[in-house]
Amino acid sequence: MRRSLSEWRRGALGLTVLAFLVMAGGPAVAQAPKPGGQANVAFSARLETLNPPLINTSLGARIAQHMFETLTTVDDDGRVRPLLAERWAASPDGLTWTFTLRRGVRFHDGTPFNAQAVVANFNHVLDPNLKYGRAGEYPVLKRTEAVDEHTVRFHLSQPWGPFPAYLTRPFAGAQVSPAAIAKGPEFLARNPVGTGPFKLEKFVPGQELLVARNDAYWGKKPYLDRLRFVMIPEAGAREAALQAGDVHLAVPLPPQFERTVSGNPALQWRADRGSRLVYVGINMFRPEFQDFRIRQAMDLAIDRDAILANFLRGLGRKPRSYVQSVAFGFLPVSEYPFDPARAAALLKEAGWTKGKDGILEKAAGEKFPQIVFRVFQGRVIGDLQAAQAVAGYLQEVGFPVVLRQLEHNVHFAEAQKPENKTPQAISQLSLASIGNSVMDGSHTLKLFDFRRPIADAAFSWYHEQDVWPYVDTMLQQSDPAVRLEAIRAAQKLMVPKSVWLPLYEVDQTAGVSKALKGLKVGMDEGYWLWEAWLDK
């Protein structure tokens, strides 16, 4: 049937107007969250147990935090905010902290959340009979006391300024129902009874976790009916699942998938600032590393911009200090320039020049001792490649570096060996990474305090005393202004010493389906779906 041209034009005009109307009103309509549905997430970490002190990975802990909550939480500005606790204060001597708890909160099994529950939790984690090992999270906590139904008092053996920040860590701080605790570790492994917005529906250890909305949640109830977390260790397989539409979120995805994810119009690539710093630790007990010019030369020899541009595809940040740029007290002390010429000059000043075989030697012919660079693979994005690049850069200026790739567990164990605290230790560099879930500068700086040796400090074992006063202040004082001063001063002191060679701060990269909205990304691998919804 034929229509006149004017009819067509009118039709076209009408359609255009309609289209504009839809588009103008569209975004407003599409933004209202739609309740219901199940979101699927593919993640890499191995989750074998839902008993918080036994969860060994950050990502695993973040997933568990959809069911568990802590007394406090940290927002993106690094400020500690109330969660299950409403307010807190320290006594003047800093040895007692009093927390007032939120009212009207219940665990998933109906047990009320109160001070007695909090006491039960801390006693459980620090129980000497269970030996969870997470006791190290709260080294100075002596006793937890329930003053009344909604007030808890923590008694410390020493003042500890950042205590509220450390309560945000879920490993020892997650609040579990006392009724569940009473049933013992075997029960806790499969039955996560928390206070969170989601509760357990099905858990297959090492395979998947299915959680459902907690309709009795004290806060804003989630939109999603269900969340399914699937464990897929291979990055390629995670991306395949995302591309196939089998999952809505694949985390983490290494940088090289940016192109393929962005190339799919249904998907979106996410790169968010992270709090993980990758660095090289120098064993400070070895005699050849005592001359700070040698260490500075190492710093100058590494081209961090190239590493960022190549392995990380720009999805990371150049470090400026030993504290992550997102943490409280961060001070950009160094530019970390790439200057091999200056490195060579410094080395020459220290008496080392590059010999004919490319290895540094002294005038008398003494060669620089061979350096073993211990590295691992697969823990952090770009770790092994960056380490290989670093080895190459160091070799260029003449350091005889040889790579030793180890499994991460072995690498960690090697660093702890007592002989590393003597000058007879093997000449070593260690690749290491450190997160900062408490978003506080003291978290990294306290590693330089040799009086408080913890496992993470073993990669460099800095043992001078000059940093001790600052560490004492930042750990024991609660006044933020005072702490800030100490944190900054410590950075100004330590960074020029080149005890660590920071390499990069890694961005958190993931692939998301455009249908999944309301995803909140926090630092230290926090992918939160509490307020997420599906737009279908």
């Binding site: 090992g133 997470r134 450190i434």
Partner: protein, 307 residues
């Protein structure tokens, strides 16, 4: 026949004991520290030492081994370091996925391998034979993990024929089964072909042809009957190998089986789980061999006194 199987089973017991010793030794010789891993990066030395004491890792080796052996004899595989639950509970849910994968892969390998091997032998040096020989050689020489990754990309992402992960339906099993079954398929095909060729050249076959029997009757009735024993042997041999390569396949496809559990346990040095798994593998392997030998004896009584 039953007494023979029983005798083989009894003979296997000392081997199993030796297996427990070996497993215990190997696991404790592996460098790395489970206590350190469990205590976390904030741990002080006393925390790590405490965990070590709690897990019984500071006792002398022979005492640890005797404790371990005693528990095994009572059927107790111990407690996993990482979950503080019984090892048996950690292992149990993963048995069926592993069995499922092994069954699927071996059925595929056995059926296709036997079939193609027989067909190839019927027309040696023909084009079917060449194709079969080449494909089976490829199956044997292609690296398992490479095949897995390629299949995943092709079938799950590119053509979207099957889901990329998960278990439950036959669609989920297809890719891992092909990946795991490729090598056994190739081997079974080649072995079947050469065995079938030999059988076809035997006198009684020629006699049957001379008598004028139809070719397919000859093949079906006589030749195949003679292939039964060798076939059982071939397939039996391959199952054990497949168990080993399942580790790689499960890693690539995130298949929740025992192989992946082994790799994961080794990464975190969960000694009890590692020991329990390897013991289980060995026991299954030995049992399989006993069963295969038993079936072989049943099929062909002549082998009962050989070897």
């Amino acid at each position: 026949m039953l007494p023979l199987i029983l005798r083989r089973a009894v003979e296997a017991v000392p081997t199993l004991v030796l297996v427990t010793v070996t497993v215990f030794l190997v696991v404790h010789v592996i460098p790395g520290d489970p206590a350190l891993f469990l205590a976390g990066d904030q741990a002080r030395e006393e925390d790590v030492a405490g965990v070590r004491r709690h897990l019984g890792l500071d006792r002398p080796y022979h005492l640890q081994y005797l404790g371990y052996l005693g528990r095994i004899l009572r059927g107790d595989l111990g407690y996993s370091f990482t979950t503080r639950t019984a090892v048996a509970d950690v292992i149990a849910p993963r048995v069926w996925p592993s069995v499922q994968l092994a069954l699927a892969a071996m059925t595929l390998a056995a059926l296709l391998g036997l079939a193609t091997g027989i067909v190839a032998a019927l027309r040696p040096h023909g084009w079917i034979d060449t194709v079969v020989s080449t494909v089976s050689l490829l199956g044997v020489t292609v690296p398992t993990f490479w095949l897995g990754l390629m299949l995943m990309w092709l079938l799950a992402v590119h053509w979207q024929l099957v889901p990329s992960f998960g278990t439950g339906t036959w669609k989920h099993v297809v890719m891992p089964a092909i990946t795991l079954g490729a090598a056994p398929l190739g081997i079974i095909a080649r072995l079947t072909r050469s065995e079938m060729l030999e059988v076809l050249q035997q006198d009684f076959i020629r006699t049957a042809w001379a008598k004028g029997l139809a070719r397919h009757v000859v093949v079906l009735k006589h030749a195949l009957r003679n292939m039964l024993l060798p076939a059982v042997n071939f397939v039996g041999m391959q199952i054990g190998i497949a168990l080993g390569y399942a580790v790689v396949t499960e890693t690539v496809f995130a298949w929740p089986g025992l192989g992946r559990l082994l790799i994961d346990s080794v990464t975190v040095r969960d000694y009890p789980t590692i020991q329990g798994l390897i013991l289980l593998f060995a026991a299954v392997f030995i049992a399989l061999n006993v069963v295969v030998d038993g079936v072989a004896m049943w099929v062909d009584p002549r082998t009962r006194h050989a070897g």
